[in-house]
């Protein structure tokens, strides 16, 4: 009845089964670089992007379309009040006539002015460098829109319907690029804009961990010259630009 050999066998078998069940999950989390939901974002990583304008095709808006689809942003026919998390800015050097095109979104600054000015702390920076808006404490004062040097924030001017569960949005609050935080947290390992750019064959947007010297973004940053937009403000942006 109480055979110690049998009891030991059952215990060992249960532990082995549990190990077999959990291990692949742990391995997958490890492979994707994602963290378990109960763990807070880590300051060991700094997510960021490199935009290589030399590879960005003028007229291509695949990154914008992908962002809008991923986050459920809709065209209401009122462009002046519609939200834009990412837009293509066409650039022209007036002296030389040289032209460029570059996607611009929240630059996920290490010293974000939007976070500094937000009265309630709704604008915040995660430990991994992603700048977000807490939709529960945003009061819609728009001070962050005034403070952002990149025009990266949008105020929601009308009622929204059919929002995606992983992308909380609502009338009367401010929003902007989340660096696809929901994709990062579930371990996709890329943003919608970067995926779309790659699918289009441009690879002008490279996503990765700026703190990891072996990440694709860090390697490219070592290879080509790059800069921060409005570098004079010394905000230490998480998005870097090359070729402009």
């Amino acid at each position: 009845m109480n055979d110690p050999g049998r009891r030991g066998f059952l215990g060992t078998a249960a532990a082995a089964l549990a190990g077999i069940a959990i291990a692949p999950g742990i391995r997958l989390i490890d492979l994707a670089g994602a963290r378990p939901p109960e763990l807070a974002a880590s300051g060991k990583v700094r997510w960021g992007l490199l935009i290589d304008t030399a590879k960005c095709a003028t007229g291509c808006t695949d990154c914008v379309t992908a962002c809008n689809t991923e986050h459920g942003l809709q065209d209401t026919g009122r462009p002046r009040t519609d939200a834009q998390w990412i837009r293509k800015i066409d650039l022209k050097d007036l002296r030389s006539g040289r032209q460029h095109s570059a996607p611009v979104m929240c630059q996920h600054c290490a010293e974000p002015p939007c976070v500094d000015v937000c009265p309630t702390g709704a604008s915040f920076k995660r430990a991994d460098g992603i700048v977000l808006v807490d939709k529960h404490t945003c009061i819609g004062c728009r001070y962050c829109v005034m403070a952002c040097p990149y025009k990266a924030r949008s105020f929601i001017h009308e009622n929204l319907t059919g929002q995606k569960p992983e992308v909380p949005r609502g009338k009367g609050t401010v929003e902007g690029c989340t660096l696809c935080v929901h994709k990062i947290d579930r371990g996709d390992g890329n943003t919608a804009c970067a995926e779309a750019c790659k699918a289009a064959g441009h690879e002008a947007i490279v996503f990765g961990d700026l703190n990891d010297p072996q990440s694709a973004v860090s390697r490219r940053l070592r290879e080509i010259p790059s800069r921060q937009l409005r570098g004079d403000l010394r905000l230490d942006t998480g998005v870097r630009y090359s070729g402009v």
């Binding site: 000015v117 945003c138 009061i139 040097p149 001017h157 009367g172 401010v174």
Partner: protein, 407 residues
């Protein structure tokens, strides 16, 4: 001077209720506009993702700044010991509180989520000048409220000097904080100046004195008498100095900006090529709000007359609204340089001058806040003793009024 006695507003019956109902109607229209904006969203206003702060912010900031300056008369009496201003000190505090309340109600009603006001009062980011201002505003109510009580309650009179000094210091900090809301915005070329804080302090002194003069004149006329010519002339001289100082701050602000090459674009826009903003700057802020009042106040024919002083005060207030429009809306109309040195264009209107046309809803909302301030003053005048009794403080003949209540 004999013992100073204040009493309530003598106007009663239709003479009291008709103006109050008119103001109440304006508040009701403002409330309807608020409901309209909050139900449908801000797309029913002229504001958009390019110009996010519009007429409500222009009027609200003007009132908040003027609230501080409206306390001038009380400060001059309590802090600087000028007894001639003492009879009007309580009214000065009442106008200050009412203006601040009106301005804050407009700001709160314009929030995207006004239902979360309690969030704003329980979650604070102390690096935000906005959050600090919330303490400055609530502190202003508390300090000026106490100051008013000490002035009006004879047993507490001995503390009114200390409270007056506290209120004086507090309001200078408050206006500096309000100016710094803009001054700290390094991303906007029209702001990004340490001069905005001190400039707002000086502007506040002029705007507040002007609005106090208008309130004083209206209150006394409602009470059935004219304000003393000597009081008006004295306040007129004070206003002239403050208007001149405001012009100096305006000149200093733009000249320092012009010294820096990177600001030549925005300065050329505001001062020369900005259409409505250039017109409002030169004709509104400088002409109507500065030069014209100075001419009226320093002219021997109009400087000491009621008409001249009150007209100058109204002009200063209108010029103040023009200044706020240029400062707040003009700054947003100018595109932000994201790639300095490059010509920019996008579907998000980068590189363009942004248009703004206020809608009826936001104008009604703003006027509702103005009406609320007027209503608070009117009710205050009726239920408490703010007006100096003519027998003790005025040479005008006493009106037919209820017996004065000594305080």
């Amino acid at each position: 001077m004999a013992t100073l006695i204040h009493r309530e507003l003598s106007a009663s019956g239709l003479r009291f209720w008709v103006p109050l109902l008119a103001v109440g109607a304006a508040i009701a229209v403002g409330f309807a506009a608020f409901v309209h904006m909050e139900t449908n969203g801000h797309f029913v206003t002229g504001m958009d993702n390019q110009v996010v702060w519009g007429i409500p912010h222009v009027v609200a900031v003007f009132f908040i700044v003027a609230a501080s300056g409206a306390l001038n008369v009380a400060s001059v009496a309590s802090v600087f010991g000028r007894v001639a201003y003492k009879p009007h000190a309580p009214l000065s505090a009442l106008v200050a509180l009412a203006l601040l309340a009106g301005g804050l109600v407009i700001l709160a009603a314009d929030l995207g989520r006004p239902d979360r006001l309690v969030v704003a009062m329980t979650h604070f980011n102390f690096k935000s000048i906005f959050a600090l201002n919330m303490f400055l505003y609530s502190g202003f109510f508390a300090i000026v409220g106490a100051y008013l009580w000490f002035m009006m309650e004879r047993r507490m009179n001995r503390f009114s000097g200390a409270a007056g000094l506290a209120a004086f210091v507090w309001r200078i900090v408050l206006t500096t904080g309000t100016g710094s809301i803009f001054g700290f915005l390094v991303a906007r070329e029209a702001f990004d100046s340490a001069l905005l804080g001190p400039s707002f302090v000086v502007y506040s002194l002029a705007y507040g004195t002007a609005l106090f003069l208008v309130a004083l004149d209206l209150a006394w006329r409602w009470d059935g008498r004219a304000p003393e010519a000597e009081t008006l002339a004295r306040l007129g001289r004070l206003l002239a100095i403050l208007v001149a100082a405001s012009l100096y701050m305006t000149a200093a602000f733009h000249l320092t900006k012009l010294y820096m090459t990177r600001y030549h674009g925005i300065e050329a826009f505001l001062l020369a090529q900005g259409g409505i903003y250039t017109a409002l700057f030169w004709l509104g802020q400088v002409g109507v709000g500065g030069v014209l009042p100075l001419v009226l106040l320093y002219s021997p024919r109009t400087g000491a007359t009621r008409g001249g002083v009150i007209a100058a005060a109204v002009l200063v207030a209108l010029g103040g609204l023009a200044q706020m429009y240029v400062t707040i809306v003009g700054a947003q109309a100018w595109p932000q340089p994201i790639f300095p040195g490059w010509q920019e264009s996008s579907t998000f209107f980068d590189g363009e001058i942004h248009a703004y046309a206020p809608s009826a809803a936001e104008i009604a909302l703003s006027l509702g806040g103005v009406a609320l301030a007027a209503a608070l003053i009117a009710v205050g005048l009726k239920v408490l003793c703010f007006l100096p009794d003519p027998c003790t403080a005025s040479s005008s003949p006493p009106p037919t009024s209820p017996p004065a209540r000594p305080r």
